[in-house]
């Protein structure tokens, strides 16, 4: 054997025994002067799959020994601040919670007309609960839990876990306490543990969403045993541990928590729904959207999240990238504070609905990555109708309405926007221009996220952009949340007695036909009299490498990784 050949043989041994990586093997052979064909032959000979040397920036075997098709690398705008359903409600937390927490019920899936998978809200399926009984008056729901559901920490799901989760929220007076109020559950005593696998919820009033509500991400079930094991005297509800570990029965658990850099999730092999195909998910923080774009285009990551509209447009037609634009429940609206004249005058509000530059905004700001919003109820939810919000830009009509309202020469007002929402500034400028044409002089003012939200929820802003999403897939919930006087989401103090009656009534209406009529009527009232200009519903964009299939849209805007496969 020549010196050359023995060297190759030695390198081959080291490759096989794992002492050098495949890339190093190839590089050394190149240094020896071998041609590509000879290298491929050498790789073959040493029982390694023959393929071209990976380009710089591509990935080799992961540190944990997983291979490429079972690891997902996601570049996102920020790592979640925490994973406790009681405290963390930011969009980055939605994604983390969606993977680690399971709810009592879930929805089946269906393919939309665009070929993408959506949750089918007409198909309620059991998740942690196998079946349920509802009394005819819709005031009591008894869930029969699935048996043998194990958490990552090796504890079995029982009715006590359900009680613990709901009790925790009540005692902490945090997120879940809103749901107690909303679903008319008096206190934890209304949640009865009947036996190991049976739990009963008693509502004070009939609820149209008695069962559907339990699909909500924020009503998922904690592993009580694990939580109690990590409770301390100073922290009796394990807040510190749950924030970084997401205590649930979902298909993934948190392996590494490095906020600002990455969070690594690993598959829970004993998941009741079957071990996920994707074993490891690395969620990497990359705050700059242009960089996330570059990363997905070069194939350095598998998924890029939260890209700007102009970047999504750039990706259309790119064969290296799969673009999934899901119709979503996210809404962008322009709201007018009814406490501040002249916005207490419905004619003025209507004038603004005619003055808004809908097409300009959809074309130049969203560039085709949003659908026109025509209802408080998203198009993906049941009972949605688009027939009542027929406003299009008509400056003449707007001016006429203003004159009728007593402002023939317009008036001065203020438009506030959130500096942290990418498209708000462009929208503000377009809005201001149109308003000027009808005589309204709108001064633009901007606030960073924190102060903006405080001012908005404190009902202090005159006009602003209100961007949010109804996460419970029921029309009556969306209508109530953003318009009913009792809802905190009614940030304009809009009071319409008939609307209040309809929305409260719809939530308690158990006949779906009657409820649909009430929902339609409510949509009509808010379209015509309401304080909102409905602007757009941006699509939820999942930008992935080719070969990734199975992504399904969930309300609260995330994709569940256990439904994905990767080639």
């Amino acid at each position: 054997m020549s010196a050359h050949e023995s060297l190759i043989a030695e390198l081959g041994d080291r490759l096989r025994s794992g002492k050098i990586s495949r890339r190093a093997f190839v590089r050394r052979l190149t240094a020896l002067g071998l041609a590509t064909g000879a290298i491929a032959a050498a790789l073959d000979a040493h029982a390694v799959p023959a393929s071209a040397a990976p380009a710089p920036g591509a990935r080799a075997v992961t540190a944990s020994g997983q291979n490429e098709s079972t690891t997902l690398l996601i570049a996102t705008s920020e790592t979640p601040p925490g994973l406790d359903t009681e405290y963390d409600a930011s969009r980055s937390s939605h994604e983390g919670l969606g993977q680690t927490m399971d709810a009592l019920v879930n929805f089946g899936k269906k393919k939309g007309a665009d070929g993408l998978w959506y949750s089918d809200f007409s198909q309620l399926e059991g998740a942690l609960a196998e079946s349920w009984d509802v009394t005819p008056d819709q005031k009591t729901v008894t869930f029969h839990l699935r048996k043998g559901v194990m958490s990552h920490w090796g504890n079995e799901l029982t009715a006590n876990d359900v009680f613990y989760s709901w009790n925790r929220g009540y005692q902490l007076k945090s997120n879940r306490s809103f749901y107690y109020n909303f679903m008319k559950i008096k206190d934890p005593n209304s949640i009865k543990v009947l036996d190991k696998y049976t739990v009963r919820f008693e509502y004070e009033a009939p609820s149209s969403i008695a069962v559907v509500m339990h699909s909500n991400l924020y009503l998922t079930i904690n592993d009580a045993t694990a939580a109690k094991a990590h409770s301390t005297a100073a922290d009796p509800w394990a807040k510190n541990w749950i924030a970084t570990n997401a205590d649930g029965f979902g298909p993934y658990y948190v392996d590494t928590w490095q906020p600002g850099q990455q969070v690594i999730f690993r598959a829970h092999e004993g998941y009741w729904g079957g071990a996920p195909a994707i074993k490891e998910v690395i969620v990497r923080e990359e705050p700059n959207p242009a960089n996330r774009l570059a990363l997905i285009e070069t194939g350095a990551v598998d998924v890029a999240e939260w890209l700007l509209p102009q970047e999504l447009v750039q990706l259309k037609g790119n064969p290296n990238v799969q673009l999934a634009l899901f119709r979503s429940n996210f809404q962008s609206t322009y709201e007018m504070n009814t406490l501040k004249p002249p916005f207490d005058n419905p004619k003025v509000r209507e004038a603004f609905k005619y003055a808004f530059p809908y097409n300009d905004v959809l074309n130049t700001v969203f560039q085709g990555t949003a659908e026109r919003m025509r209802s408080l109820v998203p198009s993906v939810f049941p009972d949605n109708t688009e027939e009542y919000y027929t406003y299009e830009t008509d400056l003449a009509k707007a001016k006429q309405l203003l004159a009728e309202a007593g402002y023939p020469n317009g008036f001065k007002t203020e438009l506030t926007y959130n500096t942290e929402i990418d498209w708000d500034e462009s929208m503000a400028i377009l809005t201001q221009t149109n308003l000027k044409k009808i005589g309204v002089d709108a001064t633009l003012s901007k606030l960073p996220g924190g102060p903006f939200f405080n001012a908005e929820w404190g009902h202090q802003l005159t006009t602003c952009y209100f961007e949010d999403q109804p996460n419970v897939p029921a029309a009556e919930y969306a209508l109530w949340a953003f318009g009913n006087t009792e809802s905190r989401g009614d940030t304009t103090s809009w009071k319409n007695a008939q609307y209040d009656q309809l929305t409260t009534g719809a939530l308690a209406e158990i006949d779906p036909v009657k409820r649909k009529a009430m929902n339609y009527q409510a949509q009509q009232i808010v379209a015509q009299d309401g304080p909102y200009v409905f602007i757009a519903r941006p699509y939820y964009a999942w930008v992935m490498r080719p070969g990734i299939t199975g992504a399904r849209w969930y309300p609260a805007e995330y994709v569940r990784w256990n439904e994905i496969t990767k080639k």
């Binding site: 380009a55 710089p56 920036g57 990935r59 080799a60 075997v61 992961t62 540190a63 690891t71 570049a75 920020e78 790592t79 601040p81 925490g82 994973l83 406790d84 405290y87 963390d88 409600a89 902490l172 007076k173 945090s174 997120n175 306490s177 809103f178 109020n181 510190n240 924030a243 970084t244 928590w257 490095q258 906020p259 600002g260 850099q261 990455q262 690395i282 990497r284 923080e285 990359e286 705050p287 700059n288 242009a290 960089n291 570059a294 990363l295 285009e297 070069t298 350095a300 990551v301 942290e420 960073p448 996220g449 924190g450 102060p451 939200f453 405080n454 929820w457 905190r488 989401g489 940030t491």
Partner: protein, 344 residues
């Protein structure tokens, strides 16, 4: 010579005095920052709990965070915890502030130290060369560079580099943070990946960390070197015009000895400038950190400021203040080493 001076001077006492003075200085800084921060708009309770929170939930959290007590009581709680090493908990990361700072300080420190080293080599080197040969073509070119370096923003330069050197030619790895995506960090000794991987013999991590450091360091160094170069050049020019240099030349001293004398005399203002830049970069490299997904202190400061995350922000300010104060102490000691006229 230095030894004798050290023994004769009361340097030890001076250092001790300065270190002791740190305590009231840091206390004063913490007090001012604490008050100013509480005066900023933005209510953390609403931000943490979201809009749908019930009034009871808000009241509970407010009481837990002591936000309903007068300012001086809040400050007392803060100090008391601080003395136990408890800097509080960041609600934007769910870690304790101490944990966050321990991870992020080495990340930024590594980045800015390498940047500054490179900037020093380039800046001082070029500054000296152009001072010795004014009006040469090197001088003219570097003057243009000096102007541009001051005018060009670092984030723009970073994006240009990423576009050409990563996106187009793949010379450098993806701007995805400090280490390649599938590698785990080296065993932690200092928290700086290059140092730790060197100390533990983890060559894979060392190569990846160095490769990921390359682009941000080059960018920051190129921008910073401009200022250092300009300062070095102008100081050198003034000194080279001085009497003692002229005397040395007339006396027939070789040029390299002249240059050595000149550089030594030109150093003090440059050292001051470097200290200022170093202290600034601890928080000021935020744009670079953002673009490269570094997870450093600057990013932390901006993020927590926007989210009204009081505890975290205060932690950052204290770290930055302590770092700056130590740096200025080091600079003063360096003066002592450079300039024989100084005594403490």
């Amino acid at each position: 010579m230095l030894w004798r001076r050290l023994r004769r001077s009361r340097l030890g006492l001076y250092v001790l005095r300065r270190c002791l003075a740190l305590i009231p200085q840091l206390l004063a800084i913490s007090m001012v920052t604490f008050v100013l921060e509480r005066l900023l708009p933005g209510d953390p309770v609403t931000l943490i709990l979201g809009p749908m929170a019930t009034p009871e939930a808000r009241a509970t959290l407010r009481a837990q965070m002591h936000l309903n007590r007068p300012l001086y009581i809040q400050y007392y709680y803060y100090l008391r915890d601080l003395l136990h090493g408890n800097l509080g908990r960041s609600w934007t990361t769910s870690n304790t502030v101490a944990q966050d700072l321990i991870t992020r300080f080495p990340a930024t420190f590594e980045l800015i130290t390498y940047s500054l080293l490179l900037a020093l080599i380039v800046g001082i080197g070029v500054g000296v060369v152009t001072a010795l040969r004014p009006a040469g073509w090197v001088d003219r070119l570097t003057r243009v560079y000096g102007l541009l370096a001051g005018a060009l923003p670092d984030f723009w330069l970073a994006l240009i580099f990423i576009f050409f050197l990563y996106y187009k030619v793949r010379l450098f790895p993806a701007p995805l943070g400090r280490l390649g995506p599938y590698l785990s960090p080296p065993h932690r000794i200092t928290g700086m990946y290059t140092v730790d991987s060197l100390l533990t013999g983890n060559w894979v991590d060392l190569r990846s960390a160095a490769a990921h450091l390359a682009l941000p360091v080059i960018t920051e160094a190129l921008v910073t070197a401009g200022a250092i170069m300009r300062m070095t050049r102008s100081t050198m020019l003034t000194i080279l015009d001085g009497d003692f240099i002229r005397h040395g030349r007339f006396s027939g001293l070789p040029e390299r000895v002249i240059v050595r004398y000149a550089i030594r005399n030109a150093l003090p203002p440059v050292v001051t400038l470097i200290a200022i830049i170093y202290a600034y970069l601890l928080g000021g490299a935020v744009l670079i950190e953002n673009i490269f997904g570094w997870g450093g202190l600057g990013q932390y400061a901006v993020q927590t400021l926007e989210q009204s995350d009081y505890a975290a922000l205060l932690g950052f300010v204290l770290v930055a203040a302590a770092f700056t104060l130590f740096l200025y102490l080091a600079v003063d000691l360096l003066y002592f080493a450079i300039d024989p006229r100084i005594s403490y």
